[in-house]
Amino acid sequence: MLRTFGTQKALNNLRTLGLALAIVLIAALVQSQRAAFLSFDNVLTLLRSMVALGMIAFAQKLVILLGEIDLSVGAIYGLAAILTATLWLGGGSLPFTLPLIPALICALLVAVLAGVINGFFTVRAGLPSFIATLGMLNVAEGLQLLVSNASTFTPAYNDPLPPAWELSLFHVLGGALLPFGIPSEILWLVAAFIFFWIIRHRTIFGFRLVAIGGNPDAARVARLPVAKYKYVVFILSAVMAALAGIIDFSYVGSVGPTQSGSLLFSAIAAVVIGGASLNGGRGTIVGTLLGVILLAMLNNGLALLGVGSFIQLIFIGVVTIAAVWLDTISQKLIRRAGQRSAEATT
């Protein structure tokens, strides 16, 4: 069978087959125990829980593709939501308020600025991106607390209440229900996936990112715009984090400081599970999506099974390792089969 496609190209597309297999296996297992798992509602819940993680992970994928890392995404996720809330609703430590749309624009502009600063310290100052973005993480978390004065914001119960059209516009961002009860947030996930898939696999930008990440020296010799691309990717990463923060705020209906939890960690994990190398140059967006699915499904499935939260951790650890192991093994098998079939054709 394998012989029929034969070429390396087709085999490359099977890169993350093992991971896909692991996901199917886990799904089948959970489904056999709890029929509700693949119910329409629960699949929606599952997808919904992937939105912020997915948006952030896709962008992080590009950062990691370059061989860099962005630790500030979780903090920027929180900062953008807090900025939107305080600018729009007041009640924080800012001396003025804005209507919703300018507030959103401000929050996104701050994210762009954060991306530029991350880029500056990585590209121009020559710091490891780990340090540059670690600094940004702390600054953004501090700002979050400073700006919000550590209070919680709930648009629908704010005093004074924002205009109704603003409330419903804001609700539409992430919380509104589309036909069949699909939360609008899910559209963002779909859009982000398509956007990043195209960026990665069908644009010159994505193509060169792979080259830069694979061999930065050669990229410099080939005069690829390494510095510019790094800036763009850091900005993209910050903006996606900010967007995710804002739509999560819309969906949850309220926001407080330091709410990003383990988002940063999960996003990097999803990227690595999806076959990327932290040294750069390797991995696809589909792989990252599979990583996101694996993590989200594990949480969902274990919650459904009602496993205690302590055992959940152990499960998550073991299954993550097992899934990536399966992937590694299947890749080896596929490569071997490919080499054999290549021999046969030559």
């Binding site: 819940t45 949850v252 383990s262 919650a303």
Partner: protein, 345 residues
């Protein structure tokens, strides 16, 4: 043979509207099956809180069974506070119809309004504990009144200071989470309570700017931050700590040989905290009774599903358990505190 389910259980009026119990739960009650009560808390692995809430849930469950209203009980929630994970889990549980009554501690006040309303709209009773979502359609809220508890602590501390004739120059306040509303409420209350006795007391910081002593609520972190702080600010002779970090503050006072000169008060109990009270470095601690906070809504869930009774006042404040060396009116002494601790294990 079918059991009867009282009308009060099936449908009930609240200030926010009518609650209708989900038909599947009615079927279940009719069939005499035990309903599922789920306690979903912000962090199951948080020291002291996580363990005590689990114990309280179990006690509530046992009490309900003893009262002839048996229920299945389960505790869920992320190990650490994690909004999106907790939310996703709640949605999953709702989808799979695994919950017949929910006791929930949201991560922040008034967070999770939407999901709580979704539960109630799906015909599932919801009670909040420890942290409230007052704008949601929850049935009632079980917790300490944080401001009040802080006030009681402040007053009790001040009384002891007065009684012992201690000279207090300046008071500092710290917290593992100085940004959190509950911590700020306790500090606010502490100031009020303390000033009832010493109206001119001087505070180093206000309720909004508590000294941070480490995000993870571990004693190590408290040691690393409070030691230099007290070294640098010798005028501070009383340190109020909003949570179990008071254990670390007691350690610091002992390590710096400041026993008898500097004092601390705080919240929560542990062996070292009680010992520090006996040793004189710590004046007052408040056992929040996390166990009671989890126990009460479980018992209430069972009671509602059996009889349809639920408190009219949604704010069900539990009485803070004040622990001092000698005990006293509305207080318990360290010996009794130890007994409670042992029972909790």
């Amino acid at each position: 043979e079918e059991k009867t389910v009282p009308d009060k259980v099936q449908s009930r009026e609240f200030p926010w509207g009518t609650f209708k119990l989900a038909p599947r739960i009615i079927e279940k009650l009719k069939a005499g099956e035990k309903p599922n009560v789920v306690v979903d808390i912000e962090g199951t692995g948080i020291p002291i809180q996580g363990a005590e809430m689990r114990i309280g849930m179990q006690r509530g469950c046992d009490n309900a069974a003893a009262a002839g209203m048996p229920v299945n009980c389960r505790i869920t929630g992320p190990v650490n506070p994690n909004t999106s994970q907790q939310l996703a889990e709640l949605e999953t549980l709702l989808n799979s119809a695994q919950v017949d009554c929910l006791a929930i501690q949201p991560p922040l006040p008034n967070q999770f309004i939407n999901i709580i309303n979704k539960y109630v709209d799906a015909g599932i009773p919801v009670y909040t504990l420890n942290i409230d979502a007052a704008n949601a359609k929850r049935f009632a809220f079980y917790a300490l009144n944080e401001v009040n508890a802080g006030e009681i602590n402040g007053e009790a501390t001040a009384e002891l200071i007065k009684k012992n004739g201690v000279q207090v120059n300046e008071i500092a306040m710290g917290s593992g989470a100085p940004d959190q509303p509950w911590a700020q409420a306790r500090m606010e209350g502490f100031i009020t309570g303390y000033k009832k006795v010493f109206p001119d007391a001087k505070f180093f910081n206000d309720a909004k700017s508590g000294i941070p002593t480490g995000k993870n609520f571990t004693t190590q972190e408290v040691l690393n931050s409070v030691t230099p702080f007290l070294t640098a600010n010798p005028q501070i002779t009383l340190f109020f700590h909003t949570d179990q970090g008071v254990e670390g503050v007691g350690n610091v006072i002992r390590n710096l040989n400041l026993t008898g000169k500097v004092y601390t008060s705080g919240f929560n109990v542990s062996g070292p905290i009680l010992d520090a009270i006996d040793g004189g470095t710590t004046l007052v601690t408040i056992d929040q009774g996390f166990d009671y906070q989890a126990q009460a809504p479980v018992e209430q869930c069972a009671k509602f599903l059996a009889t349809g009774e639920t408190p009219d006042d949604p704010l069900q404040h539990l009485r803070p358990i004040v622990i001092t060396k000698a005990g006293g009116e509305n207080q318990i002494d360290t010996q009794e505190g130890r007994e409670r601790l042992k029972r909790a294990k």
